[in-house]
């Protein structure tokens, strides 16, 4: 799989790059948002170092009258005190006495050169902090402001990145759909429908998850990590360098974790899929399981699958508990200990910045969740790659582009089959040397049993398959010379099982064709005799049609598909007569509709009820892929061959009143 991975990745990337501007803008916003979020601890550091701890800075004891204008001061015990950061060093007269404030236990003391040591009351301490209150509140205001800005920016980028991922997948889905219409009919014969639907829907959904999680987790978490480390380097490069060891360490743990859990996760998923399949099947064949008293054996089989999943889940949780979130935080706690040791031992030999100390602890606390997030997503990414590979394989299948229809004049409908042979599977011919001619306006009926080749003739005429030998000509031109779309433009088809789409009645007549307006729909339905029943439906022509038209009777579905064919006014009509039983009243309507349909066009009828084709101009009797008899009804009856026998059989059937 690894060898195929890089093209898959490349192709996924190519999809993403179609939106590179949006992604670029979003990433810039993301960086700004991370910056705003990470500014908080730096401000907190300044609050600590420049204000809370500022009371321990050097103080000068001065006379009030000597103070330069605008310099902040604190009055205490009859003297005026100025903190060293309130006044420029060159402004300090040499005769000012020095003082310092320090804490011992819970009490503060001031020690000045002139007055000696005094204990400060709480009010005194507050007085010394007098000028720090406003700046601290302003800085806290900044933190709040930054948090709000960060939130807003993070919303914008999150929304932008996710919508981009959705756009990419929509594009991909359209590409798959376009591909489906390019693929030859043969492809669909060999591929189960469910599998194709799964490609378009589920596999692209897995890819969507990949893009979404990439956008939401990888990009954001990665940026956060980067931001934290930038901040750490600004604060203390030496310690930050030490902390940098964390990244390869976590990466290593992740790799080991994935390697070990992959095995279990695969089994866990597969067994669940197996159990679902088994459950589904068991429900279907339950009568057999019970009749053959295999309940216990079946339960045993199911429970062994279930048990295997369980055992792997237990193992997976063991690994999870060992090397998942738990170890991320375990290492985090060790790092905290290291940071304390670093600052603590540093403080023994020199002074340290408490603000940096605080900010370090705060920042380090922010890297674990992003790391865990990346951890979780890596597991899913693997799966999405398999899906992507399947989708790309489908896109790589060979097909024919859908051609725009040229405005060719309506052909007269002269159809010739010239020694046509055809096989679905190589060597197994279902049509042998078929030749016939249909003159414009004629009705040609095809008769024969299942597998005699009737449907294959229709499939070839519509260009769904190519003949292996021989040629089909329409108006003297071989059909291979037309694009599929031009070929079919003037053909109409009515299938044995009329296919109705979800929508309403009028949509099922006109399909997407705009030139067929509601009046044409109505007149087509009227002409085939469907008007009475359509009008009786609660919403008439707008009556919703559910999946496959399940709420309509077989006869009604048939009539709607007749109306569809009529509305398109094809020069050549192909009609596969329904086999399903239709009540006699509808049967009569359908017989009339058929007459209306065939008028003025070349019609091919695949007939199951021989009574419907008595008036056909030509009847071709097929047997094992060959035409064994041909002629009109009277000629064939006179022949007393297969047609005659078949006709008699059906006659007997009607007489005996059985199904």
């Amino acid at each position: 799989m690894n060898t195929k991975k890089s093209p898959v990745l490349k192709r996924l990337l190519a999809y993403a790059l179609q939106y590179k501007t949006r992604i670029g803008v979003a990433i810039v916003i993301l960086i700004a948002s991370v910056g705003a979020q990470l500014a908080g601890p730096i401000i907190a550091k300044n609050i600590i170092d420049k204000h809370i701890l500022a009371i321990e800075f050097a103080w000068y004891e001065a006379e009030k009258s000597e103070l330069p204008a605008g310099v902040r001061f604190v009055e205490f015990d009859g003297s005026v005190y100025v903190r060293s950061d309130w006044i420029a060093p060159e402004q300090i007269p040499g005769d000012w006495g020095k003082a310092r404030i320090y804490q011992n236990g819970s009490s503060f003391y001031i020690e000045s050169e002139q007055k000696g040591r005094m204990e400060l009351t709480e009010e005194d301490v507050l007085e010394f902090y007098r000028h720090d209150v406003t700046p601290v509140f302003m800085m806290v205001g900044m933190i709040v402001g930054l948090a709000l800005t960060a939130s807003l920016l993070s919303f914008i980028q999150g929304y932008m990145l996710q919508t981009t991922a959705l756009r990419i997948v929509q594009k991909m889905r359209m590409d798959v759909m376009k591909q489906l219409h390019r693929l030859p009919v043969r492809y669909f014969d060999n591929t189960p429908v469910g599998q194709i639907v799964s490609r378009v829907a589920n596999d692209t959904e897995a890819i969507k998850e990949l893009f979404m999680s990439f956008m939401a987790t990888f990009a954001v978490s990665g940026m956060h990590l980067a931001g934290v480390f930038v901040a750490l380097f600004i604060l203390d490069a030496r310690l930050a360098l030490l902390c940098l060891v964390l990244l390869p360490l976590y990466a290593g743990i992740m790799a080991i974790h994935l390697k070990f859990s992959q095995k279990y996760v695969t089994v866990i998923r597969n067994r669940l899929a197996d159990m679902n399949a088994m459950l589904n099947e068991s429900i279907a064949v339950m009568p057999i399981i019970q009749a053959f008293r295999r309940e216990k054996a079946t339960i045993r089989e199911f429970e062994s699958l279930n048990d295997e999943r369980y055992r792997n889940q237990v193992m997976q949780f063991r690994i999870f508990a060992l090397s998942g979130r738990n170890i991320v935080y375990f290492i985090g706690r060790l790092v905290t200990a290291m940071v304390i040791w670093y600052f603590g031992s540093e403080s023994l030999s020199s002074t340290i910045s408490f603000g940096v100390f605080y900010a370090f602890i705060d920042y380090l606390g922010r890297i674990y969740e992003p790391i865990i997030g990346i951890f979780d997503q890596l597991m899913n990414a693997q799966r999405a790659f398999v899906s992507a590979e399947r989708v790309f394989n489908l896109l790589d299948e060979e097909g024919t582009d859908v051609q725009p229809v040229q405005r060719l004049p309506r052909p007269e409908g002269h159809v010739v089959f010239d020694r046509v042979s055809f096989a679905y599977k190589e060597g197994e011919y279902v049509l042998n040397n078929i030749s016939f001619e249909a003159k414009p306006g004629e009705t040609v009926a095809l008769v024969g049993h299942t597998g005699s080749g009737k449907s294959s003739i229709m499939n070839l005429l519509l260009g769904f398959y190519e003949p292996n030998k021989g040629e089909i000509r329409i108006n003297g031109k071989p059909i291979a010379s037309f694009s599929k779309q031009d070929l079919r433009k003037h053909m109409g088809i009515v299938l044995q099982e009329p296919f109705l789409f979800t929508g309403d009645i009028k949509f099922n007549v006109s399909l997407y064709e705009e030139s067929i307006d509601i009046e044409k729909v109505k007149s087509a339905l009227r002409a085939v005799g469907a008007e009475p029943f359509v009008k009786q439906l609660p919403s008439g022509y707008d009556e919703p049609v559910v999946e496959r038209g399940a709420t309509l009777s077989a006869g009604q579905r048939q009539l709607i598909s007749f109306a569809r064919a009529l509305a398109y006014n094809p020069a050549i009509l192909i009609l596969d007569e329904a086999t399903s039983s239709i009540d006699s009243e509808t049967e009569g309507i359908i017989q009339n509709a058929l007459k209306v349909l065939c008028e003025g066009r070349t019609t091919f009828v695949i007939a199951h009820r021989l009574s419907t084709i008595r008036d056909a101009d030509q009847i071709l009797v097929l047997h094992r892929g060959e035409i064994v008899e041909r002629g009109n009804h009277h000629e064939l009856m006179k022949l007393q061959g297969r047609y005659y026998k078949m006709y008699q059989l059906q006659h007997a059937e009607v007489g005996s009143s059985t199904a």
């Binding site: 709480e122 948090a147 019970q290 339960i299 508990a321 005699s452």
Partner: protein
């Protein structure tokens, strides 16, 4: 709390594990509050200059010790907790499956396959999630929050705690609300996704129609609208999704700001020290996850409870076919007798069998014919005890069938259903279902009897060929013959063929029937069929019409009678002569 009461059996079985989990979680929550205090202490010690190299090393050693013991404790409770949750998943799934194997057909009419599948996957996973992750979030919220809050009050400041915690309940509220909105929008997006699925399905199923009417481009345009709708609905989800992070960071940011702002104020007032302020802010960080979790917990619990109710409601359904309480021992079915037998399916009010009577001695063959829906299958199914029946009307060896153990009755029967009902396993495994310990010779014999020899020898993998989607596609006739071989392998006292040769051509059918007649000399066979030639050798033939016996007798008697049977027989003979040379397996 229906969740706990309906799963009482499980919690009773695992209470030790749950107790250990909760205790260990309490312990880790408590230990988790120590390092922040130590950080604060170190800061204060450095400030007042009381920190020594020795005390620092002690602190570090303690921190490492804490990290290691927390790691171990978390490892243990992770395993006890999630071990319980996956065990629950396993047990529930086993229960459900066992339940399903005991349920009669009427159960399957009431419960659609899709719903049962949803029960086995979604619902059971939701329950397991509640019993694992749900418990984790609950304990974490209650215990974690309590310990942190108590520590804040005890070691730092009550006022600061109240002020800084004010915004945090908003977090639980926001997560809960957003979670709900998210699920709501997600459902809408799923519906849109479903419509897209349907569109693809129709585009493929209606491919020939679309292509014949040259609607490919238009269909692509329509699909574009559908996928755009999916995209828009998902953008709706993304909108909420993108709100989560900002909502969390706004509220958390607010809380931290209060912590540091009001905390500084308290430092200025000498009420707390700088070290305590730092400790407090780290404590605040410890509360975020429990708050987020609590918002989710409500949703998890709701889902889990709903799933438990659904599952419980299903498991409560009982079989409407009761086994005999004191079964009468019957060694061999010497006769089968129906006496004015009437039957309707449970929950319906139409009789599908009306006063049917017959008597069949051991070794005889009964033929049942009649048009579709006349009750042939229903009659045969009575012997399988799939439905509740009127007592005393169906007797085996003179004993009412409901007084014989169901298992005993089924042990006599080999059943070949209308739909072949094969498993997606190898042909060998499918045939061996009839008798799992059958010898190779036995297997070979039934394969010959079912006229499968040539078919199997032509397959690349022979008997090991896998049937079904991933295996070789077999023809309908082949599948039916496998089903027959399966029943013959059991060498049953009573063989039931329910229209089980419909897809086999007449010549092969006759050969198989002849094999069966010879092989099963002395044992009883019941055959329902559309093809009358299949029952011409039967000792007695019932012609059913609308659940009642229309005609009965031997083949010759029925032909003489000149009724439905004769008409149908002649028609079929004519058809046979016409198709004889061309119909193979369909």
């Amino acid at each position: 709390m229906s969740f706990i009461s309906k799963l009482r059996w499980f919690f009773r079985q695992r209470w030790g594990y749950y107790l250990a989990t909760v205790l260990l979680m309490c312990a880790t929550s408590f230990l988790n509050t120590i390092p922040p205090r130590m950080i604060g202490d170190v800061i204060d010690q450095i400030r007042i200059g009381s920190l020594t190299g020795e005390s620092l090393m002690k602190t570090i050693a303690l921190l490492i010790g804490l990290a290691v013991s927390m790691y171990l404790m978390i490892y243990i409770w992770n395993n006890t907790l999630f071990g319980s949750s996956v065990l629950l998943e396993k047990e529930l799934r086993n229960r459900l499956f066992r339940h399903l194997t005991w349920m009669p057909p009427s159960f399957y009419h009431r419960n659609r396959t899709g719903d049962l599948m949803a029960l086995a996957t979604n619902d059971i996973l939701a329950i397991s999630n509640t019993a694992g992750f749900g418990v984790l979030t609950l304990v974490n919220t209650v215990v974690g929050t309590t310990i942190v809050v108590v520590s804040m009050v005890a070691f730092i400041s009550f006022k600061l705690m109240v002020a800084a915690l004010l915004p945090l309940p908003l977090l639980a509220l926001a997560i809960n609300k957003l979670g709900k909105a998210m699920r709501h929008r997600f459902m809408i997006a799923q519906q849109s996704f479903g419509r897209m699925n349907d569109h693809v399905l129709e585009s493929i199923s209606g491919l020939r129609v679309l292509r014949s009417y040259v609607q490919e481009e238009k269909d692509i345009e329509a699909f574009d609208r559908v996928t755009k709708d999916v995209m828009e609905k998902n953008i709706g989800v993304a909108y909420i999704n993108a709100l989560f992070q900002p909502a969390i960071s706004t509220i958390v940011g607010l809380s931290f700001s209060i912590g540091i702002g009001y905390g500084s104020y308290l430092v200025f007032h000498s009420e707390i020290t700088l070290g305590e302020l730092v400790t407090f802010n780290i404590y605040l960080g410890l509360l975020i996850w429990p708050m987020i979790a609590f918002g989710e917990f409500i949703n998890i619990l709701q889902r889990g409870s709903a799933s438990v109710d659904r599952l419980d409601q299903n498991l409560r359904q009982t079989s409407d076919v009761a086994d005999a309480v004191q079964p009468v021992p019957v060694a061999v079915p010497t006769s089968i007798e129906m006496d004015r037998f009437t039957f309707r399916y449970p929950g319906t009010n139409i009789d599908v069998l009306k006063g049917v009577s017959f008597r069949l001695e051991r070794g005889e063959t009964l033929g049942i014919v009649g048009r579709t829906g006349s009750g042939k299958s229903t009659l045969l199914k009575q012997l399988l005890r799939q439905y509740p029946l009127e007592p005393g009307r169906l007797k085996i060896s003179g004993q009412p069938i409901e007084q014989i153990a169901i298992d005993q009755v089924r042990s006599w029967i080999g059943y070949v259903p209308q739909e072949h009902m094969l498993l997606s396993k190898t042909i060998r495994e499918n045939i061996a279902l009839g008798k799992p310990d059958a010898s190779a010779e036995e297997l070979e014999r039934v394969i010959k009897l079912a006229a499968l020899e040539t078919d199997i020898s032509q397959m690349k993998d022979g008997l090991e060929t896998v049937i079904g989607e991933h295996g070789v596609m077999l023809s309908g006739g082949q599948k039916q013959r496998i089903a027959i071989a399966r029943a013959l392998l059991a060498n049953p006292e009573i063989l039931i063929l329910d229209d089980s040769l419909s897809a086999v051509d007449a010549r092969t059918e006759n050969a198989i029937l002849k094999n069966i007649r010879e092989y099963r000399e002395g044992r009883t066979t019941l055959i329902a069929t559309h093809r009358l030639s299949a029952v011409s050798h039967a000792h007695w033939i019932l012609v059913l019409d609308d659940g009642a016996v229309l005609e009965e007798g031997t083949h010759e008697q029925l032909l003489q009678k000149g009724g439905w049977y004769k008409q149908q027989y002649e028609r079929q003979q004519l058809e046979e002569s016409l198709l004889g040379d061309e119909q193979g397996d369909v």
